[in-house]
């Protein structure tokens, strides 16, 4: 049911459809939210929880695109809600439709369980392993790595991923194969393969070489298209494939 609060003109009100439910299922419900000049999708969700539905569940933290806690599906597309201005996703008079991120278990309403996403990050070998110190000792000096070197540039290309899950929720392969490591985890693996300080190249390449790894990617590129940081996980996965090809050709992998 659409309701317009008394005293507000219809054009001053946003129509919002919000998915309410849990792992067992759910449905969309409609809300009317006062439209404001400066308003993000997160502000809309906040207004509904604070003023209309006290038990609406959602997650956020930093509110400025640094923590990656607040991603949701907005009008059919995964986005950070904190940095998505309503005007950018809904034309005047158009409704907003907000769902929890796809490809992750729903906890309740708009909050998902991101544990599988981070577990895969670890499974893809997304943890730095110092080259010089397998025993845990810390090298005293900083590695000398010119910023213009090819490896530093390739490592930098994907290093700023904040782990928001937008690529993961947008990935068709994850939807088909729940074991698939996904774009963010392999973007991290590729970043480390290019990190001259890292000593676990071989283990990492093995970790991404299986059925759930880089060879499953069909390069549909939704990850790259939707990354809010304009990173390119699709190219990172291609880089892993290429490296695995040459390494196996030269017998560097089992």
């Amino acid at each position: 049911m659409e309701t317009v609060p008394k005293g507000e003109k219809a054009q001053d009100t946003l129509k919002v459809r919000v998915w309410r439910g849990d792992a067992a299922g759910g449905e969309f419900r409609e809300y009317a939210v006062p439209a404001r000049e400066n308003q993000t999708v997160l502000d809309v969700v906040t207004q509904i929880q604070r003023e209309q539905e006290p038990d609406l569940a959602y997650r956020f933290a930093c509110r400025v695109g640094m923590c990656g806690s607040c991603a949701m599906e907005v009008n059919g597309r995964a986005r950070w809600t904190c940095r998505t201005h309503v005007k950018r996703v809904a034309a005047p008079g158009e409704a907003l439709e907000i769902r929890p991120l796809a490809n992750l278990p729903v906890i309740r309403d708009l909050a998902t369980d991101m544990a599988p996403f981070f577990d895969k990050w670890a499974r893809a070998g997304g943890t730095f392993q110092p080259k010089d110190a397998p025993d845990g000792a810390v090298p005293a000096e900083f590695s000398v790595v010119p910023p213009e070197s090819k490896q530093r540039r390739e490592a930098d290309a994907g290093i700023e991923c904040i782990g928001c899950g937008v690529c993961y929720a947008s990935c068709d392969i994850v939807a088909w194969n729940p074991d698939y490591l996904g774009p963010a985890a392999m973007n991290r693996a590729w970043t480390l393969v290019n990190d001259v300080r890292d000593g676990a190249r071989r283990e990492r390449l093995e970790a991404v070489s299986g059925d759930a790894g880089c060879h499953s990617c069909h390069s549909t590129q939704s990850c790259t298209e939707r990354c809010p940081k304009n990173l390119d996980p699709s190219s990172a996965i291609a880089g892993l494939k290429r490296t695995l090809f040459w390494d196996s050709l030269w017998g560097r992998l089992r």
Partner: protein
């Protein structure tokens, strides 16, 4: 009898910022047999403020710089209110920790063209010593630490909010922590041999504030309730440039970085005139506290724009250059609907950091055996004002040291002590109380708190305003304790979370106001319109102490121990000090 799940661990860490994650990694590395558990209000590595660090990490590395010089800058910035032994630990241990962050945990900091570590200039320092990763240093640090934690058999209690520190039945030590499992909406008591308080501060009780929106001073509030002392709570740092995007948006108050003014950005009043040179010869490049106070004076004089704030303008530097130099900031402003490179952005000063906090020792230990603390929950390192770049150094240095200390403490002195069951029941009862009352929207209460603290205990303070703040907070506390939350779905109930947040914020606001009323001078971040001068340090400098006794905030003083230097002295030779 309220149902409660009981578990135990060797070391329980509250918080997953720089302090919590370093403590977890250090404790686990020192003794892999120990069970280490990290409990966090949100998701591991995503909550809190270390992640939000833009600037970087102060550390003396380069030839010509020294720990002594960093120490002197820190004391000068802190107006000699610092605990000097803590400040010395900060500057020396930072030299170890930065190497560990880069070489062991994988942080990849920016380099000079020759491949060596780059250190940039930051306000209030006599040497360019701020290590960074672009203008997103915090993300690099926390991402690398979090992925190390995921891979190391450290237990995670995500979306578990700490409610109360529970003493042992005999009261002699900590027994554990009462937590709320946010997803289930049920209580968990985690008994532990050692506990780290690393939840972070964050002055989010102010109308305009920069910290992560999930912060609510829970750690300091729990410490007060557990009988610990908080020091220097009047010292709240305000940052000059928060975005003023209007009411009803979480964007308002969020920071746009200091470097914009450093690069030559203008602050303009409502009519488009620059004003900073009326206050300080350095203009827009004056220190954070001076710029914030000057802006507040302009705002109080009514020289404001339609939004009620001032303007930040960069376009005279060339829009293309600005877009290149400050890519992240330009993109962020664009997402908010503002053109930073080619137009003006409405700004207002914004509450940023709390220098005060729990009294602690350099190894993280506190007055309560078994309880350790590190990071913004603690006070003493920064004195009356924090240098930009010393915040993340503080949390990672002292988090790591606390992790080492807890790994030593647990086998030697740790025990799983039975909890004070009455205290546990009382804490659960207090947290559940709002469900027994008639529900009401908490928005008006939150807005009233934010306005009260901003107007009466903010950037420019005086006795009359602080007295109003004190009585206003009493009234708000009474109102909160009469306010209910609708019962029903307790799992992931953000209204209940809001109520609990407000309870912490009001208590810590009372601590801030009590300390601000008591300090009848202006020092560092604390400015009294009725006492605009800084007292003579030589006459003896004291820091404030706040405790909670039978629900009443009590204030006392303790003399600052000048353990290394007296005001006016320097560790640098006259030549080196130039």
């Amino acid at each position: 009898m309220t149902h409660i799940e009981r578990r135990s661990t060797d070391i329980l860490i509250l918080g997953s910022g720089g302090a919590g994650l370093l403590a977890a990694l250090h404790a686990k590395s020192a003794n892999p047999e120990l069970r280490v558990t990290v409990a966090v209000k949100g998701l591991l590595g995503k909550s809190g403020c270390t992640r939000m660090v833009q600037g970087g990490y102060n550390v003396a590395l380069a030839a010509g710089d020294s720990a002594e010089r960093h120490f002197m800058d820190t004391l000068d910035g802190g107006k000699w209110l610092n605990d000097q032994d803590l400040a010395w630990t900060l500057v020396t241990e930072a030299q170890t920790r930065i190497r560990e962050l880069e070489n062991r945990w994988g942080c990849f900091f920016d380099r000079n063209p020759d491949g060596t570590i780059h250190q940039k200039a930051f306000a209030g320092q006599t040497f360019d010593r701020t290590v960074h990763k672009g203008d997103l240093t915090g993300i690099e640090i926390i991402n690398r630490l979090a992925e190390q934690v995921w891979a190391r058999g450290i237990e995670r209690l995500e979306e578990h909010r700490a409610i109360a520190l529970i003493r042992s039945a005999d009261g002699a030590r900590i027994s554990g922590v009462l937590l709320l499992d946010i997803r289930r909406g049920g209580f968990v008591f985690v008994q532990a041999k050692a506990v780290l308080l690393g939840t972070g501060g964050g002055p989010t009780m102010y109308k305009y504030h920069t910290p992560s929106g999930d912060k609510s001073c829970d750690g300091m509030a729990m410490a007060l309730r557990a009988g610990l002392e908080l020091r220097d709570m009047e010292m709240v740092q305000f940052h000059p440039t928060g975005v003023l995007a209007g009411p009803g948006t979480r964007m308002t108050g969020t920071i746009i970085e200091e470097g914009l003014r450093g690069a030559g950005g203008y602050l303009l009043d409502g009519s488009g005139q620059r004003f900073m040179h009326n206050y300080d010869p350095r203009g827009e490049r004056a220190t954070r506290d001076i710029v914030s106070r000057s802006m507040e004076r302009e705002i109080q004089a009514g020289r404001v724009n339609a939004a009620g704030g001032l303007w930040l303008e960069m376009k005279h530097l060339g829009p293309e250059k600005v877009a290149k130099m400050f890519k992240g900031m330009v993109e962020r402003c664009a997402d908010m609907g503002f053109d930073l490179a080619g137009d003006r952005v409405p700004v207002v000063p914004t509450a940023h950091y709390m220098m005060g906090g729990v009294v602690f020792r350099a190894d993280g230990s506190t007055a309560l055996p078994g309880l350790f603390a590190a990071g913004e929950d603690t006070g003493g390192v920064h004195g009356a004002n924090r240098l930009g770049g010393n915040g993340v150094a503080n949390s990672t240095v002292f988090g790591g040291l606390a992790g080492d200390a807890m790994a030593r403490f647990v086998p030697a002195e740790g025990e799983l002590a039975p909890p004070d069951e009455a205290a546990l029941d009382a804490a659960m009862g207090a947290a559940l109380a709002p469900f027994g009352r008639r529900p009401q929207p908490l928005g008006p209460l939150r807005d009233a708190l934010a306005a009260l603290m901003w107007d009466k205990a903010g950037i420019l303070r005086d006795a009359a305003g602080l007295a109003e703040a004190r009585s206003g907070l009493d009234a708000l506390e009474a109102e909160l304790h009469a306010a209910g939350v609708a019962d029903g779905m307790r799992g992931f109930n953000l209204s209940w979370a809001d109520w609990l947040n407000l309870e912490s914020l009001i208590l810590i606001s009372r601590a801030i106001v009590a300390a601000a009323e008591a300090r009848q001078e202006s020092r560092g971040a604390h400015w009294r319109e009725d006492f605009p001068h800084t007292q003579d340090d030589a006459a003896g400098l004291h820091h404030t102490l706040v405790t909670l006794e039978e629900g009443q905030v009590r204030l006392s003083w303790r003399e600052v121990a000048f353990t290394r230097l007296r005001p006016g002295q320097s560790l640098l030779t006259p030549q080196a000090a130039e």
